[in-house]
């Protein structure tokens, strides 16, 4: 499963409920299935639509170690 660090405002604009998610400032962590509601033919397109960056599980764990994540 892949994960995305996305723009929180963009994500909520597409109907993703931010409740329960890990956040930092304007960023939010989502998993790939949560992007199903975002329009786009591919996962990469959906990620772009929420100003996101795609990570593997191990990569995002490293990224979140930077701190500041709720």
């Amino acid at each position: 499963m892949q994960y995305v660090i996305a723009n929180r405002g963009k994500a909520t604009m597409y109907g993703i409920n931010a409740a329960g998610h890990r956040t930092k400032d304007a960023l939010i962590v989502l998993h790939e299935k949560e992007l199903n509601v975002v329009p786009g033919p591919t996962l990469a397109d959906k990620v772009r639509a929420v100003d996101g960056v795609l990570y593997s599980a191990s990569e995002i764990k490293q990224a979140l170690q930077e701190g500041g994540w709720q």
């Binding site: 890990r22 998993h31 299935k33 995002i60």
Partner: protein, 404 residues
């Protein structure tokens, strides 16, 4: 002068409270999936937690309660894991958060803990609603939610057979059956080369390759195969090698003698050695095909006055081809009609040799005729030859005889 005071109160209706549990993260639900092949939880709650909200609805029949969504006034909120206050459980430290804000989601729990496939946790919420109208406190308790995890790698075990799931046996195409018939009737000499050549995909001896996959990898060991006959929706009979139509059962193949089957459904189950829980299974069926054919006598010559016996042989064709040794698969019964005897039965087989006098044929113009014909049907499945006690008839090597 002031009178005595009489205190009166507003008579409020009691509060009706309902609690329902809602998962605020439906794509990170209570049931996780664990893929042991890559050692990952999907989703991983440390990255995308699950959040559950005990939604408290309150109202009074007299309309005096205005805070219908009552989470914001909850007090003494506690979450319990298997009946124990979560705050007292060391192994849950830092793996959950309870919403203490004054908002609508007050009391919601965010769970960051991944649950192993071997674990199950039952969580419920308790809190207190204070009703200032009546000066009472109401304890609310939610239903339980069960946190559990499915091991996708184990569930990814799958069985596959290297054959159609509906196997059709057509005796007309069975060269091995024909080979056996010819050998048994002395028409040819048995050779292993000829037998091997006759053993193709249409042969009655059907080896069905079985493969157990774990994810996409074919397993080579660590499991056994069991075969069951499906008798009904929940009724199965285990079959073993050597019984009924089952010739052999190995971890990689099941061999059936299709001559002994008209129609049957089977269930293959893989029993994995280090797991009692998982039994991947697969169903398949075997059907006998009844192919169209034509069969007719071939001797068109007349009867000479001195003839005593009459010989005839049947010709059968099917699907545009002459059927070789048709008595192998078709029951052919020879019959005659004459002016005096109708339906005189002579013998069964591809050819006939009968005494003409037996037919009732006459010697005058209006009765010196004979209709010769065959009545045919495709032979049914074979059965084991048993005596009245159910004991099998066998050859000198213990091979059971079958017949049809």
């Amino acid at each position: 002068m002031r009178s005595n005071k009489t205190r009166i109160r507003v008579d409020y209706a009691p509060l009706n409270v309902a609690v329902s549990m809602e998962c605020l993260t439906p794509l990170s639900p209570a049931l996780q999936v664990y893929n042991s092949g890559i050692d990952e939880f999907e989703p991983d709650r440390s990255l995308t937690p699950s959040q559950f909200w005990p939604m408290i609805m309150a109202n009074a029949n007299d309309g005096s309660w205005h805070n219908q969504y009552a989470n914001s006034i909850l007090t003494q909120m506690k979450w319990y894991v298997d009946g124990v206050d979560i705050t007292t459980l060391q192994d849950w430290t830092n793996l959950y958060e309870i919403d203490n804000t004054a908002g609508n989601y007050r009391g919601a729990i965010t769970i960051k803990r991944n649950v192993l496939p071997t674990q199950t946790f039952s969580l419920h919420f308790e809190g207190v609603l204070t009703d200032p109208r009546l000066g009472t406190q109401i304890t609310v308790k939610s239903d339980e939610i069960i946190l559990s995890t499915e091991d996708s790698s184990e569930d990814a075990y799958s069985l596959s057979i290297g054959d159609d799931q509906i196997i059709q046996y057509n005796p007309f195409k069975d060269k091995l059956h024909l080979y056996n018939y010819k050998v048994a009737h002395g028409l040819i000499t048995a050779t292993s080369a000829a037998e091997a050549a006759a053993t193709d995909e249409n042969a009655y001896l059907r080896q069905i390759p079985v493969t157990l996959f774990k994810a996409e990898v074919a397993m080579q060991s660590g499991y056994t195969i069991k075969l069951f006959r499906v008798n009904g929706p929940n009724s199965f009979t285990e079959l073993s090698a050597g019984s009924d139509e089952v010739v052999a059962i190995t971890p990689t193949a099941i061999t059936l003698d299709l001559r002994l089957v008209t129609k049957s459904d089977y269930l293959i189950k893989a029993i994995i050695t280090d797991s009692d829980r998982i039994a991947p299974q697969l169903q398949f069926s075997v059907n006998r095909v009844y192919q169209d054919y034509n069969c007719r006598p071939t001797n068109g010559t007349g009867i000479n006055p001195g003839d005593i016996q009459r010989f005839d042989t049947a010709m059968c064709d099917s699907d545009g081809n002459v059927v070789e040794c048709p008595a192998n698969i078709i029951k052919i019964v020879w019959k005659t009609d004459s002016a005096t005897i109708t339906g005189q039965v002579h013998n069964e087989g591809q050819s006939t040799l009968f005494t003409i006098a037996k037919t009732g044929i006459g010697n005058r113009y209006d009765d010196d005729w004979l209709d010769i014909y065959v009545e045919t049907e495709i032979k049914p499945m074979h059965k084991y030859a048993v005596d009245e006690n159910g004991d099998f008839f066998t050859d000198e090597n213990g091979n059971k005889f079958i017949f049809n």
